[in-house]
């Protein structure tokens, strides 16, 4: 079985993002970019399935500018076998990404797509569900455990108030939550090895998809700042303030 893992290039998790002064977006020039953390978990899960013999090949796919090839390289260093870059300058939104991924999936015919539950830039959390819908495949979002059993999937999902377990036939789309696994660090030999792994480049036109965004982004601004309050000296003072001043207890 083949596993496709879409990976997104985003502003690094540890960067404090700055909104551009012209309110058109956040500053990405000269900012450290990395693989979306949830996608890293998805790559790790796919590689572990391969290591356990449940998958034969792991294909990492990234969509966007040429620099997304670096994100694919990261996935290759973590253990993916080859990469596909769908290159475009267009600002991609989830529906367009899902349509492009559908076209890739139709070419690759994987048994499973594993991807992050959301990207930490646009926080949309939509692409996995949209891809499953377009393919007519079942989905298991927010996965914290994934087992392949008798040719099907048993997935434990993080839901409000706890967890639930679903059984799904394959092919299917699974989106990774935080606790699915703890991704490994790429070793130096594996980083070197990744340089030799192939990355194919495609365009939206070759895939027959119009990647134009459906949502116009009108403005991006900083949220209102919260004012720091004051310090209290004792627990008794705190309780008194909450009771008599803030009146919340």
């Amino acid at each position: 079985m083949k596993i496709v893992v879409p990976v997104k290039r985003v502003v690094d998790y540890n960067v404090k993002v700055r909104v551009k002064t012209d309110a058109t977006g956040v500053e990405t020039a000269g900012v450290k970019m990395s693989m979306n953390p949830f996608d890293e978990i998805a790559v790790e899960e796919a590689v572990r399935l391969k290591e356990r013999g449940a998958a034969a090949e792991v294909v990492a796919v990234s969509l966007g500018v040429a620099a997304c090839a670096e994100t694919i390289r990261t996935a290759l260093a973590l253990g993916a076998d080859r990469g596909i870059l769908v290159e475009t300058q267009v600002e991609l939104q989830p529906l367009a990404v899902a349509k492009l991924l559908r076209a890739v999936v139709e070419r690759e015919q994987p048994g499973l797509v594993i991807m992050g539950k959301q990207a930490i830039d646009d926080d949309m959390g939509a692409t996995g569900q949209m891809l499953a819908a377009l393919l007519g495949w079942p989905q298991a979002t927010f996965a914290s455990k994934l087992v392949i059993e008798d040719g099907g999937l048993v997935v434990t999902r993080e839901v409000d108030g706890g967890m639930e377990t679903l059984a799904l036939p394959m092919p299917a789309v699974v989106t990774a939550d935080l606790r699915l696994n703890e991704p490994r660090y790429a070793s130096l030999p594996n980083i070197m090895r990744a340089r030799k792994k192939p990355i194919a480049t495609l365009t939206p036109a070759e895939l027959g998809v119009d990647p134009a965004p459906g949502l116009a982004v009108l403005t991006v601004v900083e949220p209102p700042r919260r004012q720091a309050g004051r310090k209290v000296e004792t627990v008794a003072e705190l309780v008194a303030k909450l009771r008599n001043e803030a009146k919340v207890i």
Binding site: T165, L168, L178, K231, V248
Partner: protein, 312 residues
């Protein structure tokens, strides 16, 4: 045309985030509420009493028993022609189902709406709430989830909407529900609680969360945690408040042993009153706290529980 809201319910009652979604929907048009599941007559009756709901649609079928995404999305798509907007709270179900609905309708999905400018223009947080984007859809139909913390819930009583059953056609459900492992708790749900008491890495152990429990008991509060505390294994992930966890906006949020990482602030900074208890007076959490107490939490928490009891 009207707007359709998929309501989160437990079979008998409507969950608070869904009441916030109804409030948001009321800004967009006449609100029709959809109660889907199996054996949901009680929830439908509760939905009819919500203020601001004009009509309740009930889809009661075995295929909808656990509201798996595939049959639930198919149901919403079958109802979509009558509506300009389809929305749900950004709950686990809403986040799971609504993007699937959007793709099936070939329209963009708009997640975690925190503000409504007009029928096609919405404000939503991006980058963990470090920026607010205003987006406009060019499509006639919008599919969205609503950030409950941004809209005051409609009252649970006051309405008297008619209830009608919708014809549930053939709903394919390729997936199968196996089991649920819900955290057993007598406490209110995090996203609906009036008071939330959260612990962070500073709690240092799972046992220390019992100190928080004692305070939460006094306040009728929900107990939450930072991602650091979850990652350290002190508490399960459904306790997590933050960008990658739950977004809460209670009347009172008490952050204990939480440094105040951006990702945590994203989940609680809309709380009405924030209290921070931390031994590090330089902790960033103090920059957003209304009341800060620089103290050792292992001393402060028992004191707080005792003081709350004493002054009740």
């Amino acid at each position: 045309m009207a707007v359709l809201v998929l309501l989160d319910h437990d079979g008998t009652a409507i969950k608070q985030p869904a009441r916030s979604a109804v409030a948001a929907a009321g800004r967009l048009g006449e609100v029709h509420a959809l109660v889907a599941g199996e054996g949901v007559a009680g929830a439908a009756a509760a939905a009819a009493k919500l203020e601001g709901v004009a009509r309740v649609l009930v889809a009661d079928a075995p295929a909808l028993a656990h509201l798996l995404a595939e049959p639930a999305a198919a149901l919403l798509v079958s109802l979509a022609p009558g509506y300009t907007h389809l929305l749900a709270a950004a709950s686990a179900d809403g986040k799971n189902i609504m993007p699937r609905v959007a793709a099936l309708l070939d329209v963009p999905f708009i997640a975690e709406v925190a503000g409504i400018v007009d029928a096609a223009t919405f404000v939503r947080p991006i980058y963990a709430g470090n920026a607010l984007a205003t987006v406009r859809s060019a499509d006639a139909r919008c599919v969205l989830t609503v950030r409950a913390a941004s809209f005051d819930p409609v009252p649970a009583e006051g309405g008297a909407a008619p209830i009608e059953a919708v014809a549930v056609g053939e709903l394919a459900s390729p997936g199968r529900f196996v089991s649920a492992q819900l955290s057993e708790s007598v406490r209110p749900e995090l996203t609906a609680a009036r008071v939330v008491v959260s612990g962070g890495r500073g709690m240092a152990s799972a046992e220390a969360f019992r100190l928080l429990d004692a305070v939460a008991d006094r306040l009728g509060a929900a107990v939450g945690a930072s991602r650091a505390a979850v990652d350290a294994g002190f508490v399960p992930n459904d306790y997590q408040v933050g960008q990658t966890g739950k977004i809460v906006a209670p009347e009172l949020y008490i952050a204990v042993g939480i440094s105040g990482a951006i990702q945590h602030l994203a989940g609680m900074k809309d709380s009405k009153v924030i209290v921070a208890i931390n031994k590090d007076e330089e902790a960033p959490i103090f920059q957003v706290a209304d009341y800060g107490l620089v103290a050792d939490l292992f001393k402060a928490l028992p004191e707080l529980a005792a003081e709350l009891e004493r002054s009740e």
